[in-house]
């Protein structure tokens, strides 16, 4: 199965830009089949995909070039060069080059590994095999060798290698079925049909090889649903459209083979063009860090200038005399020049304020955090054996700052599995189980399932828990039988029986599949169909029904019916559809049953199930014959065929007898409502962006608790023109803010940028809950420049936003809109190729992995198998990462300031001569050896609040969103702390050493002893400080903190030892200093004093802040400590109660059904696998059907529009009636369950 994974298609989010403009703007594409020479003239992209950046030889130069483009690295290179100038070199060259080489090496290794994996995945994609027709023979070729104009043979379940024009297929009429889940997220099958002229080519390789048609078509673009072109062949022109195209990323289904001609290849395929631009994502902290580094750089220059001026003055006043004494006047001619040189010397000396190891440490931290995500068992999905994966290692801390989540629906929130869950038959519900006391039992994984072993044709995956229904079936209760008979007959599912008893249903929508499967398991097995008949196995007995008519579903009718004649000769009409629709068409004698069923429907709907009502009717043969005549007449008519057919259907679907209702569960992914509730508590706004239709989206909205009945209002925007959309948005906004506020609101529109502040205040003050649902075509208008602000304003006022029927590009646009106008971190989560653009656009992209398609995962920054892991990813990992990163940065800046600014103070006492305070080795090693590991350990392991409490108090997430833990203010605070520390570090030893001598009377106040004292104090102070910053002392922290101190002393004594001095006398001039100074009690007293003076104020401030202005974190920490003392307590799990009572009116296909296709017999395979004799269809029927594809395609576009129109009116009527909170007029208001 592995080769089916689409991750072979787009391997890595490389640096390529999809719109390659190498050969100028292509105006029109000419492709001639089987003519490589001709096609090569146009230099179309081939099918090779390259996402890697380097090869073996270019790695070093390119990588170094890239690395030195980073400001910090370039800065250190400049420093290095400065240090080589003897006049200004105040530090040895090794102080810079050692850290720089280390940093460059670590980065290079990381880049090399990344690129290696890119190479590997490129390779995998490019070497996939496909059968290409070359020189009249089918040959296996690698994907990368496929050229435009080649003819390719595809087999069932294969991925399409490039954008193909379908030429012929194994199915009749050149039909083939594809699954486009990777492209648009819809899992239902789609039909493509080849031109008749080409489908005649069939599988005849020689004829295909002779095919030399030329296609002239549009240039590569990213429109998935449009294609314009013409085929010129044998002096004829044939128009081509999207219905003849197989796009890269689709999977061929239910079709043995097909042939196609490559039109677009590689990066020019629509899939690739749709992938959006790959951007290098950077976190906001990254950007802030860069700004801060620039500031620090400015600060450094200021210090340099100050000290240079100081030097000039000093030389003028003091030094001049000093020089003459020391005979130096020949060296330094003027104080100003001396000041100039001093400036550069100080730039070198103070360079450590710009922390070189910062970037590399940050990378290490992020890598570590990514590994923790990868390792997290609580984000591992055992059913699919998929662990969570951090695919981008640079974004972790941003996970702690997310404010907006954009979620896909299908596959992300839902499993896209429909399950027959409950039913109501003749006023009795089935599906719930009760214990002996009559209490309802929660159905869990462990609940025993009904045994269907009586039925050899059952589907093993089907689960049902209520055994009373099986008993009813076994008792042969006629209505129950009729119920399942209906389910087995009234549908447009295609069966496929690969071997005896192994039935596979090919349903156009999962709902239908679920219903037919249910019937199958309850003993009414739908086994085969012909255009004329349907064969069921009713309790093991084959029964063949004559299919007389299919009254197909469409979204105006909201029902479908079949008319069948059973073997006894009775004609029956079976109907299923939306309850409201069917109830209107019932026979009056059903009233009581209707009442009970309605109750049941409410109950089902309250549990978020998708319901359907079922009814039947016995037809009189005469009546039917008459009706059938009318039908034949109407279906051949040309004018208003649709309406007239509709009226005719309406005519016969009257006086129905109610059978009951079904309830299908659109299975949510596990834990979705809980996760959404929790994320909402963390003040994260969740927007659902789905390609699905409005009803389905709303349904899911209700079932995952995003939409609730107690919401004040649900606005549905589905206008078709810009003006309508504007009006709808405005009225929604007015209703939310009240008319008085609207004035202010319009002010917002004009003065967008300045009003952010008050805007968010608004958002906070609105207590009422609103929801906004917007349709794709309205969204297109709303996203235009003049409306987008209004859209955003309105949307941000709502608790829930659902966008349906959106294209992949629109998803990205919505994300982009929020990204652009709200300074908030956005996260997009999805599973399909249609989510790729959104995933790439958002600050953080999350892919749901473990499904068949891997597109989203490959484009994503993080991937895991279940939506619910998002909660853990954000609230635990994200929060920790953010916390750790912020503490880390604060400490890092603090440490470097404390370390470096000592030189600044010393400048005033050493004639501004750029004399270093410390030993040069100390300067070299301080950042990379003495102090790097404790802070890394803190940055890797720290937990201010444990995972449990992080999840329990989602408000702990708030500081991250508000960017409270590291911002410019924090930066100033920590640098100020660093400056104060450096001041203390210098002036306390200064005071103490002013006239100090050793206890044996010899002097101690020399430069080297002074250096050792300050360095030791510094190392101790920063170690104590990191100890204070560490909330979570693991063994590693202990080891690193104590270890660093130990290593400091070890290295100190080693470098001041006799041995090393005797080897390199001029490199280690500090011989003996450590011994001589650290033996002195007074030196230790100075160190102790310095440490206490540096630390105590910090301690006091922290304590007082925690007492006076305790943050939630402080409180939770105290609580946590308290609970730790008491031992673990049992935690009550928060359960989210579904409060929705919305009647999910129908659960139906996305498009019009296959009814016509079935009755026409067009998609029926030759009767090879079946024993049944297929009667030849009457010619009239075929006529009806020939136009099937055209009409279906035509209607497809209208479907959503029609639905949308209805909703608009629904809103209108809904809003008029103040007591109705129901969003849609046609649904009945129901009680809360």
């Amino acid at each position: 199965m592995a080769e089916r994974w689409l991750w072979l298609l787009i391997p890595w989010r490389g640096a390529w830009t999809p719109r390659s403009k190498a050969n100028g703007q292509e105006e029109e594409r000419h492709v001639r089949a089987n003519d490589r020479e001709y096609n090569e003239r146009f230099q179309y992209a081939d099918n090779r995909i390259k996402t890697s950046k380097y090869n073996f030889f270019t790695f070093l130069p390119i990588n170094l070039f890239e690395q030195f483009q980073r400001v910090a690295n370039a800065y250190f290179l400049v420093l290095l060069i400065l240090q080589l100038i003897p006049q200004i070199s105040s530090l040895s060259w090794f102080t810079t080059i050692v850290p720089l080489v280390l940093v460059l090496a670590i980065t290079a290794v990381k880049d090399a590994t990344d690129d290696y994996f890119r190479h590997k995945s490129d390779q995998q994609v490019n070497t996939r095999q496909s059968q290409v027709l070359i020189k009249g023979k089918l040959q296996n070729e690698k994907w990368m060798n496929v050229r435009v104009g080649d003819i390719i043979k595809l087999e069932n379940n294969q991925f399409v290698a490039a954008d193909l024009l379908l030429l012929s297929s194994s199915e009749p009429c050149g039909l083939c079925y594809i699954e486009t889940a990777e492209l648009d997220g819809e899992t239902n099958l789609k039909v493509r049909q080849a031109l008749t002229v080409t489908s005649d080519l069939g599988t005849d390789v020689s004829r295909l090889a002779e095919f030399n048609g030329e296609v002239i078509c549009e240039p590569p673009n990213n429109k998935l649903d449009k294609f314009m072109g013409t085929l010129y062949w044998k002096d004829n022109k044939f128009p081509l459209d999207n219905e003849k195209m197989l796009l890269r990323g689709c999977v061929l289904r239910n079709t043995e083979w097909c042939f196609g001609m490559v039109i677009f290849a590689g990066l020019q395929t629509k899939l690739m063009q749709n992938c959006g631009r790959t951007k290098f994502k950077r976190t906001s902290i990254d950007k802030l860090m860069n700004t801060l580094v620039l500031w620090i750089f400015g600060f450094l220059i200021c210090m340099g200038i100050t000290l240079a001026i100081g030097n000039t003055i000093w030389e003028e006043r003091v030094g001049r005399n000093f020089w003459s004494y020391l005979l130096w006047d020949e060296l330094l001619s003027s104080p100003v020049f001396s000041g100039f040189l001093t400036f550069w010397s100080y730039i070198i000396i103070l360079n450590t304020v710009v922390p070189i190891s910062l970037y590399v440490s940050v990378e290490v931290l992020r890598l570590g955090h990514s590994y923790f995500i990868n390792w997290d068992r609580k984000m591992y999905y055992s059913k699919r054996d998929t662990p969570a994966e951090a695919r981008t290692t640079t974004l972790n801390e941003e996970l702690g700052q997310v404010e907006f989540i954009f979620s896909d629906k299908t596959g992300t929130l839902t499993q896209n599995i429909m399950v027959f869950n409950k039913c109501s038959i003749n006023g009795k519900t089935y599906g719930d189980i009760y214990d002996e006391f009559g209490h309802k039992v929660d159905i869990t994984e462990k609940t025993p399932c009904v045994d269907f072993s009586f039925n050899p044709l059952m589907d093993r995956k089907f689960r049902f828990h209520d055994s009373s229904l099986v008993e009813a079936i076994k008792l042969e209760e006629p209505l129950v039988q009729e119920f399942f008979r209906l389910l087995a007959l009234c549908h447009t599912v295609m069966p496929e029986e690969r071997s005896e008893g192994e039935l596979v249903y090919q349903a156009q929508s999962p709902d239908e599949g679920a219903l037919v499967t249910a019937a199958r398991n309850f003993g009414f097995v739908f086994r085969a169909r012909t255009p004329e008949t349907i064969t069921l196995y009713e309790m093991g007995q084959p029964v063949t029904y004559q299919l007389l008519a299919i009254l197909d579903f469409n979204n105006v009718r909201k029902r479908m019916s079949v008319i069948v004649k059973n073997p006894k000769g009775q004609i029956k009409l079976y109907s299923k559809g939306a309850d409201t629709i069917l109830f209107d068409r019932l026979d009056p004698c059903n009233e009581e049953l209707m009442y009970t069923t309605s109750e049941h429907l409410n109950e089902f709907a309250g549990e978020g199930l998708r319901t359907l009502a079922l009814a039947y009717k016995d037809l009189d043969e005469d009546v039917f014959d008459e009706w059938m005549k009318k039908l034949l007449f109407v279906s051949t008519s040309l004018e208003n065929r649709e309406e007239r057919l509709g009226a005719l259907y309406e005519e016969i679907e009257q006086g129905l007898m109610l059978l009951g209702a079904t309830a299908i569960e659109d299975k949510l992914q596990e834990g979705v409502p809980e996760t959404i509730a929790c994320l909402t508590l963390a003040n994260i706004k969740i927007w659902v962006l789905t390609g699905d239709k409005l009803e389905t989206a709303m349904n899911i909205g209700y079932s995952c608790n995003m939409l609730r009945d107690d919401m004040n209002e649900v606005f549905i925007i589905s206008g078709h023109t810009s003006l309508e959309v504007q009006q709808e948005l405005r009225s929604a906004k007015e209703r939310i803010m009240g008319p008085s506020r609207e004035k202010l609101g319009s002010g917002l529109d004009e003065d967008k940028t300045d009003m952010y502040g008050s805007d968010s205040v608004f958002e906070e003050t609105i207590i009422a809950e609103y929801a906004l649902i917007i349709n794709g075509h309205s969204l297109a208008h709303a996203l235009e420049a003049d409306l987008e602000q209004m859209l955003l304003d309105t949307a941000c006022l709502c608790k829930t936003v659902i966008c349906c029927r959106v294209t992949p590009l629109q998803k990205a646009q919505v994300v982009e809109l929020v990204k652009r106008h709200k300074r908030a971190v956005t996260l997009a989560i999805g599973d399909g190729a249609n989510d790729v653009s959104m995933i790439k656009t958002a600050h953080i992209g999350v892919g749901i992995s473990g499904q068949e398609g891997m597109q989203a995962v490959l484009a994503s920054d993080y991937s895991f198998a279940q939506f619910r892991y998002l909660q853990r990813l954000l609230l635990v990992h994200g929060r920790w990462s953010y916390h750790r990163m912020c503490t880390f940065l604060c400490y890092f800046f603090y440490k470097n300031f404390a370390f470096t600014l000592v030189h600044f103070w010393f400048g005033f006492l050493c004639g501004f001569s750029a004399q270093t305070v410390y030993d040069q080795w100390f300067i070299t090693l301080f950042n990379i050896v003495y102090t790097s590991l404790p802070v890394l350990a803190m940055g890797l392991f720290d937990q201010d609040v444990n995972e449990h409490h992080s999840l329990r108090y989602p408000s702990l997430y708030r500081p991250g969103q508000l960017n409270l833990m590291f911002n410019k203010r924090k930066f100033f605070t920590c640098t100020l702390q660093g400056i104060c520390t450096s001041f203390v570090l210098f002036f306390i030893p200064y005071g103490a050493f002013f006239c100090a001598v050793r206890d044996d009377g010899s002097h101690i106040s020399d430069q080297q002893a002074f250096a050792v004292t300050i360095a030791t104090s510094l190392v101790i102070v920063v170690s104590v400080q990191i100890g204070l910053d560490t909330n979570y002392w693991t063994a590693v922290n202990h080891f690193f903190i104590w270890g660093s101190l130990a290593v400091y002393f070890a290295i100190l004594f080693a470098m001041h030892s006799d041995g090393i001095f005797s080897i390199f006398p001029s490199q280690f001039p500090f011989i003996g200093t450590a011994r001589n100074s650290l033996m002195q009690k007074s030196v230790w007293l100075v160190i102790l004093l310095t440490t206490v003076v540096c630390i105590m104020p910090m301690l006091a401030i922290r304590f007082l802040r925690a007492v006076l202005y305790p943050s939630l974190t402080d409180k939770v920490r105290l609580l946590q400590q308290a609970t730790r003392r008491q031992g673990p307590q049992e935690q009550n799990l928060r359960r989210v109660r579904r409060t929705s009572s919305r009647r999910s009116a129908y659960a139906f296909a996305h498009q019009q059904g296959y009814g016509e296709l079935i009755t026409s017999g067009k998609n029926m395979r030759a009767p090879t696998s079946s024993n049944f004799v297929f009667p030849v269809s009457p010619p009239g029927r075929v006529n009806v059907a020939t136009s099937w594809i055209d009409s279906m395609l035509k209607k497809k576009g209208d479907t959503s529009n029609a639905v949308a129109m209805e909703k608009t009116t629904g809103v209108a009527s809904g809003t008029e009636m103040s007591d109705r909170t129901e969003p849609q007029g046609q649904y009945t208001q129901t009680e809360e369950v």
Binding site: S345, S382, S1002, H1003, G1072, L1085, Q1121
Partner: protein, 339 residues
Amino acid sequence: MKNEGEMANRPDNTAFTQQRLPAWQPVLSAGIVIPGFVLIGLAFIGIGVALFVTSQKIQVLETDYTGAEQGSPCYDCRDTSVPCVCRVNFSLSKLFEGPVFFYYGLSNYFQNYRQYGSSRDDDQLSGYTSAFTSPSETCAPYQYNSQKKPIVPCGSVANSMFNDSFKLYHVVNGQPRPVPLDGKGIAWWTDYNIKYRNPTVNGTLASAFADTVKPINWPRPAYDLDTTDPSNNGFQNQDFIVWMRRAALPNFRKLYRRITEGDYANGLPAGNYTLEITYNYPVLAFDGRKKVVFSNVSWMGGKNQFLGIAYLVIGSLCIVMSVVMLIVYAKYKFPEDEL
């Protein structure tokens, strides 16, 4: 498809990977912080008192002999171009407890100036004769003399070696009686025994210095620094080593001699003393000052008021802070159940 039972990708369930490492999670609670402050405060006050008392006990006698002011003893010796000797008299009213240390002090003297400090050649000073013929670049302009001969020891630090010398007389019954000054072991042991090494060529120190010249300001070459004690010559000369250990701050004192011998082993008795100074070292040009300091020491070194006072101040501040924190805590403590 993958076997469901197989969990090849399942992350390891270790405390490390699951971030459940056992950890000490300290919280800055009132129960720790306030007593901590009190304890540290008390300890500091204790140390402060000890330091202060000890420091008070130390006797220090300091005399500026620069001769900057008219009428001061060495006023006439300001011009260092001619050899000059001046005398400074002082009297002790009580015993100056021994051992007494004799320092010279310089102020406004920037031994910590970068170019000054780096103007030396450590290779040379550790006796590598290769560095004798070609001294380090950093020594410039005291690398070669005008005849391009290498200077040994090269560099500003060596060149500017302090060369005033002192003799101390105890005036007993009007008669000056020399106080023995001990010049041994005034430098750090490591410096004298490891860092500074004398080269020997052909068995003598002097021949190692052949083809080199003495530092410009020096009266005699390095191998002849101490005319009285041949073993105290070359780089392993105590005064030279003391000088070469550069001071960190512009005002500094360096140990000159110890008074440990004879009648003065227990200190300088009360009485009158005369200090005879051979005044060579010019400091007035850069507004410097020279002084001599007599001092005794304690366990904490020389007299140092700063540390004692600093400890007392910080200790008191800690106590004050703890009181403040206690009050604030008592008043504003949030109830723990309010979450």
